[in-house]
């Protein structure tokens, strides 16, 4: 990644509600540009007691009640050697939880070493959970694709296709029909947990704006209300729009599942030929509902074929029975 994630970026993270980190910077502002390269945390209890082997210094150092109490004891006893040695390592930043105020001596060392000391009102376990969650999404594999992401009946659908094929127009009609826009034209995909693809807008500036040829740039949240937008959504289906090619064979049954690979995760894909008179948004709505059925374990095409097979077998048995008893 060329874009480094720094301590300042950590403080600037715009997380909401149950994701908020509530961090403030106490001192060491000169180190706000320190890069954070590891997505794990370290509890430096053992290190402070003087054991430096295997010290994970390049991680964010989290000080909870135990560590803070130990610091207090060290300062009270006047044994500051381990704190001094602690700051000789290239630490990205320290974070104190539960609003624990660090000792002045500790802050002096941090200031001198250029290590930012942050403080939060969350307790250690909650803070660790939130921080790991945030770092996971920051360090996740990312990729920007030229597509439009909409949520239809709760299913995240990525609309792909060549420029000018009508992705935005299709999305606009879906929004008009009560569905939601996540991002238009440029969608940032990130791989979470190694098996989920989450899509969101590339940045907040362009978020929920759309370019419609002939109209220009429009703001979806202002035009259709906040109910028509969403910040991020898992990509559960990819719809590839393409010009109708009479030489190409399109899936007529829907019984074989094809997937497309994004960041190592296979996402179901359907290819949708466009032709005047085909109402694409309604077909996409239907595809979304069909996808939900599949998630519930019902595969329309497969189930239908099983019924056909059963019926044919019945007919067969009937014919055999008639044959045998000369009932014809």
């Amino acid at each position: 990644m060329t874009n480094m994630f720094t301590v300042l970026d950590l403080l600037d993270l715009d997380l909401k509600e149950h994701n908020e980190l509530n961090l403030r910077c106490l001192c060491g502002r000169s180190g706000l540009a320190n890069p954070i390269k590891e997505q794990d945390l370290n509890r430096p209890g053992l290190t402070l007691s003087g054991f430096f082997d295997g010290f994970q210094y390049n991680r964010i150092q989290v000080f909870g009640k135990g560590e803070a109490a130990y610091l207090k004891k060290l300062v009270a006893e006047g044994t500051l050697d381990s704190i001094k040695k602690f700051f000789e390592f290239k630490i990205p930043c320290c974070a104190f939880t539960t609003n624990l105020q660090p000792e002045k001596e500790f802050l002096d060392f941090a200031e001198e070493a250029g290590v930012p000391v942050l403080i939060t009102d969350l307790n250690s376990s909650e803070f660790s959970r939130r921080l790991i969650r945030a770092l996971n999404s920051i360090f996740a594999d990312k990729k920007v694709v030229h597509a439009t992401l909409v949520e239809v009946f709760g299913i995240g659908i990525l609309l792909k296709g060549a420029s000018g094929i009508g992705k935005s127009e299709t999305a606009l009609e879906l929004i008009e029909r009560g569905h939601r826009l996540i991002a238009d034209d440029a969608v940032e995909l990130s791989c979470v947990n190694g098996n989920l693809i989450i899509g969101r807008g590339v940045n907040d500036i362009a978020g929920h704006h759309m370019e419609i040829r002939g109209l220009g740039i429009i703001n979806i949240s202002h035009l259709f209300g906040v109910g028509a937008i969403r910040d991020s959504k898992q990509v559960q289906l990819v719809v590839e729009l393409e010009e109708w090619d009479s030489n190409k064979v399109y899936d007529r049954l829907g019984s074989n599942e094809t997937t497309i690979d994004y960041l190592g995760v296979g996402v179901p894909v359907v290819t949708m030929p466009i032709k005047p008179g085909r109402n694409i948004p309604i077909i996409i709505e239907t595809a979304a509902m069909n996808e939900r059925l599949k998630k519930l374990g019902y595969y329309s095409a497969r189930e239908f074929n099983q019924n056909v097979l059963k019926w044919l077998e019945g007919q067969n048995a009937r014919a055999a029975y008639y044959d045998k008893n000369n009932l014809k």
């Binding site: 990644m1 060329t2 874009n3 920007v144 030229h146 420029s163 000018g164 238009d184 034209d185 440029a186 807008g201 590339v202 940045n203 500036i205 362009a206 704006h209 759309m210 370019e211 740039i217």
Partner: protein
């Protein structure tokens, strides 16, 4: 495939008007045109895509063209950047 680095020389960076100019020019060509910045590669035929690049003054963008008329396309796009999108 043709590729070239360009520096944004107009003060305001790539805002709506330059983006529209790039898209207009890109659409005159058959080939695929991509702009790349900070590992983000976007299609030069999409306005919103170009704006989301956040290409500010003095930042470097890599132009990549691929297809039948790639040479002419690259030349035309690079020229837009060099002319500062006819701004300041």
């Amino acid at each position: 495939m043709q590729t070239q680095d360009v520096t944004i020389k107009n003060r305001a960076g790539i805002h709506a008007r330059p983006a529209a100019l790039i898209v207009q020019t890109a659409n005159e060509f058959e080939c695929e045109i991509y702009l790349e910045k900070d590992n983000n590669s976007i299609n030069a035929k999409s306005i919103m895509g170009i704006i989301t690049l956040g290409a500010a003054y003095n930042s470097v963008v890599n132009v990549k063209t691929e297809g039948t008329d790639e040479e002419a396309a690259l030349k035309a796009i690079v020229k837009l950047f060099e002319n500062r999108f006819e701004e300041d």
